[in-house]
Amino acid sequence: MKDRLLPYWLLIPAFIIVLATTIYPLAYSFITSFRAWDLTKSRRPEGFVGLDNYIYAASESQFLNSLWVTFIFVITSVILTVILAMALALLLRRKGPMHTFTRIILILPFAMSPALIGVSYRFMFNPEFGVIANGLGAVFPALQGVPWLADPQLAMGILVLTDVWHWTPYMTFMCLGGLASIPRETEEAARIDGASNLRIIFGIILPQMRGVILVMAVLKTIFALKMFDQVVTLTGGGPGTSTETLAYFIFNVGFRWFDMGYASALAWILTAIMMFISIWYVRMLLSERKMATA
């Protein structure tokens, strides 16, 4: 009898920790999102305001701007990362003499802290002493003195670039794993059947990578949605609000303007978006599996 209950007793500490660190704050923020709470005036949440915080968000231009910025950022960084990772994996999948070496090199960007990436890219794109800014200026004189991070579009481009740079290695490894699980014979059969290299990639390999690509796209989407560090260290949301992503905006509302009620509501909007994507993804994955095993 005792033995049967023992596993549950052993699980209780972990359960309490999870409860205290995630479930409780989640529930607390959810409730807060229906209340008014100005941190400069009160240490505790004040009166209930119903859906006011959410309704306010729907018409507030800075929030809508951050949604749009996030959307642009997510779409471009996900598409670029997935395509680049897939291409790299196709190049790297054959075991050559440089096999280990290329893989070690490849993992380095992912090992770097996102905050550090932001800082270093800010230096590298500094128009006066940045190595990339100067290098580009030297090669293409037309690019001399371009105020990279002071231009809204360019700043967004660089933000996407840092993110793609950071995530491509990891995604490449995911692709390599997927490629390794494709039976070599399907590709060889296609070669004998007369398919060109491009046809093999698009007609034989990529269709078999569907599941892996889906996982990658969803993971990357979620990570991109909550991307925060690089905005802080690279652009600070600027110039203006041109790179102010939702996560960064929520941070500003909560910890610069101290409007906790509104910040909680915004955080739940972000959570809802991510949950929606996750649920859609699980359903896709299940139907995919059904197709494969039926």
Binding site: P183, E185, T186, E188, A189, A190, R191, I192, D193, G194, A195, R199, I204, P207, Q208, R210, M291, A292, T293, A294
Partner: protein, 350 residues
């Protein structure tokens, strides 16, 4: 004329010599089987013919033309893989159609051709299914259909039946044989199953450690194995191989005395097939020992007797009965073939 000639081909993986210089000619329309234990280089040899593996040195000629540097698609071959190699994201129809599509055959012709081929391998009812919805035998048929749909001049098959259960294997074997008869396409077939080799082949190339040790008709290989390795590999149950020595025209081992036509020689292995031994009551028979086991196989009984370290098996009448551990005697049948091999080199002595 789709003759395949391998001339001094050699394959090294780094420093590992998988196939040392070998030559082999596969005649037009022939069903040639590469037979050997796992890891002896059969697949490697076949992949070199297919163009999926580079040749370290030597030449491969198809229809008299050197094709070393030609890509697989230009060699006019089709290949059936051990684990089928079907395209999982395509239906059976699309799988079979794919080689035709790649070769630019018009759609209407493709449709007819796929239907004809599917009928030939009895897949016509399954055309809209995906490979994952098929049994092993059906998948094998799709692989076969995909290979024959293009009517190539050479078929390469790498252990195509090894993933099937025993019963299905026998059925598919007959189908393959019939298909070869019908199409008459030069076929190279890889297997480690000697029964498959014997039943399917016009000629068998027995391989060991990358080398072809014997190349001949199944009958000849069965009757006159070139060396000890082939003798032990071909036949089921396998040939009795008894260690002993020859002195004064008699081969001797524990409980074994067989007159042979060979000069005195130490370290000799005598080989005789179970079906060429008679069970007798004669205590002066060539082979004597104690009965060790009786195994009824249906049409006959396998009788194993032991004497010291050596055991000898004979195929007896299905009705044969005796007590385990009772004395038992075996004598070679009239005209039985006695093989003698050198223990050390494995070479055939007689």
């Amino acid at each position: 004329m789709a003759e395949v000639r391998l001339v001094d081909i050699e394959k090294k993986y780094g420093n590992f010599l998988a196939v040392p210089k070998q030559s082999l000619t596969i005649h037009d329309g022939e069903f040639l089987v590469l037979l050997g234990p796992s890891g002896c280089g059969k697949t490697t040899t076949m992949r070199m013919i297919a163009g999926l593996e580079d040749i370290t040195s030597g030449d491969i000629m198809i229809k008299g033309e050197r094709i070393n540097d030609k890509p697989p698609k230009d060699r006019d071959i089709a290949m059936v893989f051990q684990n089928y190699g079907l395209y999982p994201h395509m239906t059976v129809r699309q799988n079979i159609e794919y080689p035709l599509k790649l070769r630019g055959m018009p759609k209407a012709d493709r449709k007819d051709r796929v239907r004809e081929t599917a009928e030939k391998v009895e897949l016509d009812a399954l055309l809209e299914r995906r490979p994952s919805e098929l049994s092993g035998g059906q998948r094998q048929r799709v692989a076969l259909a995909r290979a024959i749909v293009r009517t190539p001049s050479i078929f390469l098959m790498d252990e195509p039946l090894s993933n099937l259960d025993a019963k299905l294997r026998v059925t598919m074997r007959a189908e393959l044989k019939h298909l070869h008869h019908e199409l008459g396409v030069t076929t190279v077939y890889v297997t480690h199953d000697q029964m498959e080799a014997m039943t399917l082949a016009n000629r068998v190339a027995v391989m060991r450690e990358g080398k072809i040790v014997q190349l001949d008709t199944p009958k000849k290989i069965y009757a006159e194995p070139a060396d000890l390795f082939v003798a032990g590999f071909i036949g089921s149950p396998s040939m009795n191989l008894i260690d002993g020595a020859v002195k004064d025209g008699v081969f001797r081992a524990d409980g074994v005395e067989v007159p042979v036509d060979l000069a005195d020689h130490d370290g000799v292995v005598l080989g005789i097939r179970p079906e060429e031994l008679d069970i007798t009551q004669d205590p002066g028979a060539a082979i004597s020992g104690k009965l060790y086991a009786l195994e009824l196989t249906g049409e006959s009984t396998l009788v194993t007797l032991r004497n010291g370290p050596s055991s000898v098996c004979a195929r007896g009448h299905a009705d044969f009965e005796a007590d385990i551990d009772s004395p038992c005697h075996l004598a070679p049948k009239e005209g039985a073939r006695i093989h003698l091999f050198d223990r050390a080199t494995g070479e055939r002595l007689l």
